[in-house]
Amino acid sequence: MSALGIVGGVVQPLAVVAGSPVLVGMMRQVRARLEGRAGPGIAQPWRDLRKLFGKEPIAPRGTGVVFRAAPYALVATTLVVSFVAPLATVDSPLDPVADLFAVVALLTAGTVALALAGLDTGTAFGGMGASREMTIVALVEPTLLVAVFALSVPVGSTNLAAIVSSTLRDPARAISPASLLAAVALVIVIVAETGRLPVDNPSTHLELTMVHEAMVLEYAGPDLALVELASAMRLGVFLALLANLFVPWGIATTAGPFAVLGGVLALAVKVVVLGLALAVGEVFLAKLRLFRVPELLAGSFLLALLAVAASFFLA
């Protein structure tokens, strides 16, 4: 456990918690502007959260422990990821946890908690959302694992820090065929996993289409705040991971204050760029029919598989 790791372990969760709602706000603002609306400003998510946290917690009748624990599990898993993954600093405070497989599985665990919560409500919407979400997860998780695998084979390790440092040392690796294929696959699954267009529309509540929102319909007050915070954090973490796996430059490699500050700034820049690109893209995309989504995901699975094959054959 190095000094850099400890610094990262403190700075990263703070940055993610503080920055993710802003990221979401910024993406909404960009969309609003591009669609010709004024937009609520980039701090609006934070204002929403504050309001929700101030409300009375509700326990809907007929729901149980699972329903109540799910938001905490969701936030906690994301927090752990932001704690261990090399987002702003290249070292991790808990190196044995900062494994790519572990990170992917942790994020999936959060989704599972939410799906179970949806089922626990016993409503038609909850079940519907959970069913759709699990269908997507069942295809996203394999793609993530295979893509991770493709990135790990050349490095010979699934440790995130090792992959990032390896790319830093050998920049050519970032544009290897395996890497590129994996990047495309990852982008698609991240879009799916974070519930963005064209897989899911976070700003709609139409029962024909909604996935994520259907699961969380029964949440209110602080619980809802946690769910909203968590989905923002997941977006942030995923984008940060994506950025650092392929474009790690700027990440802090020493524990000096400037290096760390630079790391955080670089992270912010990379995530904002990616987020804006996503937002701009969303403006021009329509939501896919639900049953077309698997085709998209199958495509990304295939890309990831090709990436693995490439990493083996071209090694």
Partner: protein
């Protein structure tokens, strides 16, 4: 007699004693007596296994037993692992059986056979010669068959399942028999040491025949596709504590057989064997979990999940054999496979026992009729939930560690392992990944639909928690699962040295401390830290939210449900509807049968009176492979009946023509 032998002997004596108790005691005492003594038997078996794993081998020969063959008992560290797992599962199932069997399986025959089933499984792994292995294998099959048939007079499916099981296991046995006897024919006698010696001068063809035959035979016991068809029928129809034993302990013996013959006796061998193993494993894993995801019968779902997990184990075994040149990675793959087998035993015990409690408490195992059990059956719900977590390869679950290890092994397979390996590894990874994803969906369905939400039937609404012996057994199994999940290191070093012993490499892929740190390749994971950090983060979060952000108490309120009227259970998603999107995705693979019957109103064809929708997911392999086979057999049988038309002239004619033919032959060849 050393500690291993002593413990094994005690286990056998206890098992026989329990069988006698089962046959002789009165009805109201029977379950308790058999359960208690069998549990002790299982505990003794576990002790024997642990002792053997720690290096105390045991050997004994009984030439007078089994005419014409003799029986040799050898307990080495490989046997020890399987012995320990079997004993532990038996212990838990027996404790559970005290409460469970009293109601559902308290006949003399099932109660007497249950302990015998346990000891025959122990004997299979302790056999030291081919004769003993075969006899114990068949005894085990016989015992399990009798147990599967326990409830044959209640449901017709039981007899059907029993038939499938009997036929498949019999054919599988013949494959094993043929394979091992071909092997024995090349050796001085049929003991394992003699076979190991013989393996060196076996011709490649003979060795391949031996391996493939035994792979098929043992694979069918492990439920490997396409020989799995009996498993999702037989495992669910057995009483649940027997299902647990079958699914958590008996299937392992298929793995045992492959390990014993492939690695130990044949000493590795040709690459394509392991390629075949890996391919079978991959297909089994994906096919099994896909069908599990579509199943609505809880126990059938678990049965298919067994096929899936055995597939994962086989992937590990295949990878180990494939990269045998690289001792570190091969050892890692083998250790991963064995760890996954142990883990599977642990969580499948939990899941089957919990399913048994559900069946007993709610009167059904159909997920579409369950739900809302977390209130009336809190212990069972918690146990199943933890079991489902363990099964779905999510941290901090049990299977996560072993699948992580398996993926590590696949990642570190060097391209130097050959073109086949290079092609197979990505496919294997894809299979493992797909399996992991589908497993998540499957167990969310099983737990979320089966236990959460509201009850979907009167039985589920009136569910009651199981008696103490059953919940205690569940508790023990869950505890074992938890220990395996966070502290796999206590087992892994043993498995590592076991694997290196089997591969004869001498460089164990050892693990250290609380962190699983791979030796020889880069890779580390600490399930314990992961669990602690996650739980810590969650608790910290709760503290922050409840103490800092909102300090008000929770208020109970009506479910909003978008403002809809009062909820009824019919509005809930069922297991079928939950799996429907996935079913659509894998439409081409599973080919569900759906038919819709629309009844129109008499007055007008535009008014619909009723719509009936049926959706069945049939086993495709069964339809493709077994149905034509069965049809061919019946055609053959119908044709053969023409041989026995009843005409005495024809019958005599057979003799006349044969005689003439033979005489001509003799005249010509003289």
């Amino acid at each position: 007699m050393n500690p291993t032998g002593l413990a094994l002997g005690v286990a056998l004596v206890l098992g026989v004693f329990a069988a006698v108790l089962g046959a002789a005691t009165r009805k109201h005492l029977r379950a308790r007596a058999v359960g208690a003594v069998t549990a002790l038997c299982g505990a003794a078996g576990t002790i024997a296994g642990i002792s053997a794993m720690c290096g105390t081998r045991y050997y004994a020969a009984f030439p007078a037993l089994l005419p014409l063959s003799g029986v040799t008992i050898t307990v080495d560290s490989t046997s020890g692992l399987f012995l320990a797992v079997t004993g532990a599962v038996a212990f838990v199932s027996a404790v559970y059986g005290v409460g469970y069997a009293r109601a559902d399986a308290n006949g003399r025959l099932p109660q007497a056979v249950f302990p015998l089933f346990v000891i025959t499984m122990m004997l299979v792994v302790s056999a030291g010669n081919v004769g003993a292995l075969l006899v114990c294998w068949e005894l085990m099959a016989l015992c399990s068959l009798v147990l599967v048939l326990t409830e044959h007079h209640r449901r017709p499916e039981v007899a059907r399942a029993g038939r499938w099981y009997a036929v498949m296991t019999h054919l599988g046995f013949v494959a094993i028999l043929a394979g091992l006897l071909v092997f024995t024919a090349a050796a001085d006698d049929d003991t394992f040491p003699a076979l190991r010696v013989a393996a060196h001068h076996l011709s490649p063809t003979t060795a391949s025949v031996v391996f493939v035959a035994t792979l098929l035979g043992f694979g069918s016991k492990a439920g490997v596709v396409p020989l799995h068809v009996w498993l999702p029928r037989a495992h669910p129809e057995a009483p649940s504590h027997v299902s647990a034993l079958m699914s958590a302990a008996m299937v392992n013996l298929g793995v045992y057989g492959i390990v014993r013959v492939g690695f130990d006796l044949l000493g590795g061998g040709q690459r394509w064997w392991w390629l075949l193993t890996l391919a079978l494993g991959g297909i089994s894993a994906v096919y099994g979990i896909l069908h599990a995801a579509m199943s609505t019968d809880l126990k059938r779902l678990l049965g298919y999940s067994t096929t899936e997990n055995m597939g994962l184990v086989l992937i590990g075994l295949g990878a180990a054999g494939l990269v045998a040149d690289d001792p570190v990675v091969a050892g890692l793959a083998l250790a991963a496979a064995l760890l996954h087998m142990v883990n599977h035993a642990a969580f499948k015990t939990v899941l089957f026992l919990a399913a048994g409690s559900v069946q007993r408490g709610a009167g059904s195992r159909d997920l579409d009729a369950l739900g809302g059990l977390s209130g009336p059956m809190p212990f069972t719900t918690a146990a199943f939930g933890l079991g489902a977590l363990a099964a779905s390869a999510l941290p901090p679950g049990t299977a996560f560690v072993s699948e992580w290890l398996l993926l590590q092994a696949l990642i570190h397979a060097r391209p130097s392992a050959g073109a086949a390996a290079v092609v197979m590894m990505p496919i294997a990874v894809a299979a493992v990944a797909l399996t992991a994803g589908l497993a998540v969906a499957t167990f969310v369905k099983a737990f979320g639909v089966g236990f959460l939400g509201r009850p979907r039937s009167a039985g589920a609404a009136a569910a009651r928690e199981s008696p103490a012996s059953m919940t205690a057994a569940l508790g023990i199994a869950v505890a074992v699962c938890a220990v395996l999940a966070v502290l796999p290191t206590i087992l892994l070093s043993q498995l590592g040295s076991l694997a290196s012993g089997l591969l004869r490499t001498g460089s164990p892929a050892a693990m250290d401390g609380i962190v699983v740190r791979l030796v020889g390749v880069s890779g580390a994971l600490s399930p314990l830290m992961l669990a602690v950090v996650s739980v810590g983060a969650a608790l910290g979060l709760v503290a922050v939210v409840r103490l800092v952000l909102t300090r008000q108490a929770r208020r109970a309120a009506r479910l909003w449900d978008c403002g809809a009227g009062p909820l009824s259970a019919r509005m809930e998603y069922t297991a079928t509807s939950f799996a429907e999107p996935l079913q659509r995705v894998f439409d081409d693979v599973v080919q569900p049968e759906t038919d819709v019957d629309v009844t129109h109103a008499r007055e007008s064809a535009y008014l619909v009176e009723a719509i009936e929708f049926r959706n069945r997911v049939l086993d495709r392999i069964e339809r493709w492979l077994y149905t034509p086979l069965l049809r061919a057999v019946s055609v053959w049988a119908a044709a053969a009946r023409r041989l026995a038309t009843g005409s005495v002239h024809r019958y005599l004619g057979y003799g006349f023509y044969t005689l003439c033919g033979l005489l001509i032959l003799l005249a010509v060849t003289r």
